[in-house]
């Protein structure tokens, strides 16, 4: 195995492009190093990008925040601005692992590891987060939603990597929330999860809604029918019933040691309902 710390994005892209074997990028290493130790993967090339410019910074940009790809969960969690703007994104990231893991783990690592159960991803998706990708042809921006393509797979092309995540600005009376189900209280993998982001008008009527579910399909899923169930309502019982039905209909989970199809489907609906109520209260709605 070769371990390299390239001195520029360009060199990093070149190294990645030229490598013929198994490559991994070292962010926090809380997936990569664990997988190497468990002998699940033995990379030929391990590239460390943490030291490159902007990788560890959070910057204010057009009312939103640009978050470097190597910013840890702990750093994100302590950032007052991001907390105020996108509390659901922060709570998704902060659910990952333990205090020790938080000191290393990154959102981008979580996203690119490609787990359908990745905890930071659903709320990034409902936030409309944009990933900035660097590659042999320079930089491009794509929605985070388009990054994962299946378990362990991303849409990144050969030689490409992510340099930052952009969380956009948003209006007043808006907020988000993320919830997951695990059999324990921490140190576990989501059996199902849901993120909800809402915008309200001055009367508490929902004008915009996004609902994403995790661990119930090969990738995170945005549920348009669930958004439609909420828009134009103040999250009355009828709207919630429709939301739950839409979420359950959008689930296509697997049966495995972590949960049955029926259980994952049922809990995804419950979590979406509860996350919607939290987001609604955070956005200033009273029902």
């Amino acid at each position: 195995m070769r371990y390299v710390k390239p001195d520029s994005f360009e060199n990093a892209a070149q190294l990645l492009f030229d490598s013929t074997g198994i490559t991994r990028i070292l962010a926090g290493g809380t997936d990569v190093l664990v997988q190497m130790k468990a002998e699940m993967v033995e990379p030929d090339l391990l590239i460390d990008l943490k030291h490159l410019s902007g990788m560890r910074e959070i910057t204010h940009e057009n009312g939103g925040f640009r978050i470097g790809a190597a910013v840890s969960g702990a750093e994100l969690g302590e950032h007052a601005g991001v907390n105020a703007l996108w509390p659901g994104v922060v709570e998704g990231m902060e659910l990952i692992g333990s205090t020790q893991v938080q000191g290393r783990a990154t959102m981008v690592g979580n996203l690119c590891n490609g787990s359908p159960a990745a905890d930071s991803v659903p709320a990034m998706v409902t936030a409309g987060a944009i990933a900035r990708i660097h590659g042999p042809d320079g930089a491009r921006d794509i929605p985070v939603y388009e990054v994962p393509t299946g378990p362990g797979k991303t849409s990144l092309a050969r030689g490409e990597f992510i340099t930052s995540i952009y969380l956009p600005a948003r209006p007043e009376n808006a907020s988000d929330a993320y919830l997951r189900f695990i059999p324990r209280t921490e140190m576990d993998i989501a059996v199902s999860s849901a993120a909800v982001s809402l915008e309200l008008d001055s009367k508490g009527i929902c004008t915009e809604a996004k609902v994403a579910i995790g661990a119930v399909a090969p990738t995170v899923r945005l549920v348009d029918d669930a958004s439609a169930a909420l828009i134009g309502t103040s999250l009355d019982d009828d709207a919630i019933t429709k939301l739950v039905a839409a979420v359950e209909a959008a689930c296509s989970p697997i049966d495995d040691k972590r949960g049955t199809i029926a259980f994952r489907t049922k809990t995804a609906g419950v979590l979406a309902k509860r996350a919607a109520k939290i987001a609604y209260a955070r956005a200033g709605g009273t029902s």
């Binding site: 189900f181 059999p183 324990r184 949960g259 259980f263």
Partner: protein, 748 residues
């Protein structure tokens, strides 16, 4: 040995002195199994079966032998044939003979100059298998046409015509069952299932072996019993016990799981073949796949009760699978099942069954938690249906002094009634409960053990004392042993240092198991101290020129026994030690015993849970443990045992399980998917220690280490069943299982 006196004021026993191993452990200085290295040491690695059940047709090691850095490869052909059938099973579990019997069963091992060379060589070993049908479920394994794990292993007690996987049958009880059930106002009969759980010790097995061509060996390993390791390894390697010195390392948890050998004979064989020291450290995955979990079970319990709560008859039938080899765990379960009750008619039947799973190893009170889970669940359901207070019903039927126990003996002084009364009087029992919350309780029981024990107590020339004992300290025993020595000698605790000897330094000691060490080693320590005191009295009498009867021991000094003995200033231990060379040489006391009188132990657990009706998730809100400790030598450690047992029981009840796929392979061989509780899953576990002195120990000590894991399964199941409004009969009560039960209840 009898209790000295029912009431006694202790000076040191009962206090909370600092633990002697604490600083080493928190600074990382403590040397565990993997911490020892030797010059020229090789790294061992084990090839394991990828199949649940297969015949080994051939093993080709030629490519691996030729690989760089490889110094030795061993298979079962490198082992001898022990006389003892139990040790032959251990041997065949260490390296498979002609069949692999479970996923993860060891087949061959490599010693190489680096870990990576050993790993690479393992991949070069070619094994040709004939895959055989497998069975991992206990009920399926008992069916007459089930795949046969091992044939010809059944004991005579097993009736003809059963599957050959059924290897043992036991029966206990007394009284007229039919009459008892006929006399009942209400009878409940239920079937229960429990999953296999792992001891979950944090330190994987590790050892370093050095066995020369002359047959003389040294072994350093993490174990609950260095003498057991010596006996097993000597028999498996075909060498004499005297030629193998085994030293136990500091131990990162055992809970019964380190009362056998897995890697030590393999490391010794590799060392003998290569002529070099060989170290083997198991990975967590290997620990899960190939070291002992506990049994999984299927059980029927039937109990009849009068409307006032009197039990009229009770019957249990237990089916335990303990992996691919015979084991006796079901016998303990069958004996323990109804131990808490004074019954006129009771019967327990037990069946021991083999399956294609790893060989079962003891886990705290082996066999008891599951049997008592089934019994206490049915008792709770009867209380619910007859609208009776569950503590009152236990008190009404409680075993006490003079009760003919369900497993035969008549009980002496036991603490069950006092423990139940303590629970009844505790504020926890009457605290209000909210919506979706339920309270459960259960009694628990364990036999406790004494066993073979040797202690030497050496007086140092400065008046301090060294105690040498032969039992690895897995629960704080070094502190308790030092405390008992200090108490007996009348010197401060910090003047005593207790060490754990290697196998050449003392006679045979039984394994650290059966909650025996504080009881048995404590007893031997007190006797050794008394022997040293007698010697000190004799020395002083000689010095003063008077009879030994004319001196007496008081407050850590030898004094004249009365005015007739003459005027002599008392001599302290330090005074006596300083001039020992003038009075006859070094002073020591020792004691060797096969201790009995351990005294059975009872506990009661009380727990409140809340169940989320939409997700099936359980929160443990409040937990209180009541247990009779006889005499709590070091209360912190006693509380630690009580809390630890409760926590392991919470894991067992709610989430821990061995999950096998249809392919017979273990699906969750990691701490991610084998879910032990994490700190945030737990409330503070409150403890109430009762002290009903054990008549069989000079200070009244009873073992406390195992009983605490017995009640949690039923206590939590009873609490969850009450919270969820539906009786649960299968462990673990994972959220999907609870949600499924709630959904079924709602759908009628």
């Amino acid at each position: 040995m009898a209790l000295d006196t029912p009431k006694r004021d202790f000076k040191i026993v009962g206090t909370r002195v600092p633990r002697p191993d604490g600083i080493d452990k928190v600074t990382g200085k403590a040397a565990y199994g993997a911490d020892i290295t030797a010059t020229g040491m090789l790294h061992g690695r084990i090839l394991r079966s990828p199949h649940a059940h297969a015949r080994i047709i051939s093993i080709d090691t030629s490519a691996a032998e030729a690989a760089e850095g490889v110094k030795a490869i061993v298979t079962s052909a490198d082992f001898a044939t022990p006389d003892d059938a139990g040790i032959r099973d251990i041997r065949d579990n260490c390296l498979a003979l002609d069949k692999v019997l479970y996923d993860g069963h060891a087949i061959a091992a490599v010693a190489a100059t680096s870990k990576s060379a050993a790993k690479a060589a393992i991949r070069l070993i070619r094994v040709e298998y004939e895959i055989l049908p497998h069975v991992t479920d206990v009920d399926a394994a008992m069916k007459p046409d089930a795949p046969i794990v091992q044939s010809g292993r059944a004991f005579e007690s097993v009736p003809a015509g059963m599957s050959q996987n059924v290897h043992s049958h036991v029966e206990f009880g007394h009284g007229d069952l039919d009459a008892g059930f006929a006399n009942a106002d209400k009878i409940i009969e239920r079937t229960f299932k429990t999953a296999a759980t792992h001891q979950g010790y944090i330190e994987p097995q590790a050892c370093m072996a050095n066995l020369g061509a002359d047959g003389r060996g040294e072994l350093w390993c993490c174990t609950q019993g260095q003498y057991m390791v010596r006996e097993n390894c000597a028999a498996i390697l075909g060498i004499e016990a005297s030629q193998l010195r085994v030293t136990s390392s500091e131990i990162g948890g055992g809970f019964g799981g380190k009362t056998t050998t897995f890697i030590e004979p393999v490391a010794l064989a590799l060392s003998r073949k290569s002529g070099k020291p060989v170290k083997i450290v198991m990975t967590r995955e290997e620990v899960f796949r190939a070291t002992g979990p506990t049994v999984s079970t299927s059980m029927d319990v039937k109990i009849g009760m009068k409307n006032d709560g009197r039990i009229t008859a009770a019957r249990a039938e237990l089916r335990y699978q303990g992996g691919a080899f015979p084991n006796h765990t079901v016998e303990f379960g069958a004996q323990a099942a109804f131990a808490a009750y004074d019954l006129a008619a009771v019967q327990t039947l037990g069946w021991g069954v083999m399956t294609n799973r790893p060989k079962e190893v003891a886990y705290r009170a082996p066999g008891a938690p599951t049997a008592i889970y089934a019994v206490e669940s049915v008792v709770d359901e009867l209380c619910q249906q007859l609208n009776l207070d569950p503590l009152d019903v236990r008190l009404l039927n409680a075993a006490r002094k003079g009760t003919l126990s369900a497993y035969g003996p008549t009980f002496n002084e036991i603490g069950l009634v006092a423990t139940l009364e303590a629970a009844k009087n505790h504020p926890h029992y009457t605290a209000p409960l909210g919506e979706n919350q339920g309270r459960g309780l259960s009694c628990g029981f364990w036999f406790n053990f004494g066993g073979n024990t040797c202690v030497s107590l050496n007086l140092n020339s400065d008046g301090t004392v060294g105690v040498v004992e032969g039992n690895p300290d897995i629960g704080g025993s070094r502190a308790s042993i030092s405390m008992m020595a200090a108490e007996e000698l009348g010197i401060p605790y910090d003047k005593v240092r207790t060490v754990i000897a290697d196998t050449t330094s003392l006679g045979f000691n039984d394994v650290t198991d059966g909650s025996r060490v504080t009881f048995a080693v404590g007893l031997a320590t007190i006797e050794a101290a008394r022997a040293a005191k007698n010697e000190m009295c004799a020395r002083v009498a000689k010095l003063w020129g008077i009879d030994t009867d004319a001196v007496q021991w008081e407050d850590g000094s030898v004094k004249p026994a009365g005015p007739n003995a003459g005027e002599h200033a008392p001599m302290s231990i330090a005074d006596i030690a300083a001039i020992a060379d003038e009075t006859g040489g070094p002073i020591a006391g020792h004691h060797e015993v096969n201790a009995d009188g351990a005294g059975v132990s009872f506990g009661v657990h009380l727990v409140d849970t809340e169940v989320d009706p939409e997700t099936g998730a359980t929160t443990v809100l409040r937990y209180t443990v009541f247990q009779d400790a006889g005499k709590a030598v070091h209360p912190d450690y006693v509380e630690g045992q009580m809390q630890g047992g409760a926590v392991q029981g919470i894991g067992w009840a709610l989430n821990e399980e061995y999950i096998y796929g249809d392919d017979g392979l273990l699906q969750n061989a990691s701490l991610l998917d084998y879910r032990v509780p994490v700190a945030s899953d737990l409330p503070n576990i409150e403890t109430v220690i009762l002290e009903i002195p054990n008549p069989g120990h000079p200070y009244g000590v009873r073992g406390v280490g195992e009983t605490p894991i017995v009640p949690p399964l039923a206590a939590i199941s009873n609490a969850v069943s009450r919270a969820a409004g539906i009786r649960l009969t299968e462990l673990p009560m994972s959220p999907p299982r609870i949600l499924h039960a709630i959904t079924q209840r709602r759908d009628g």
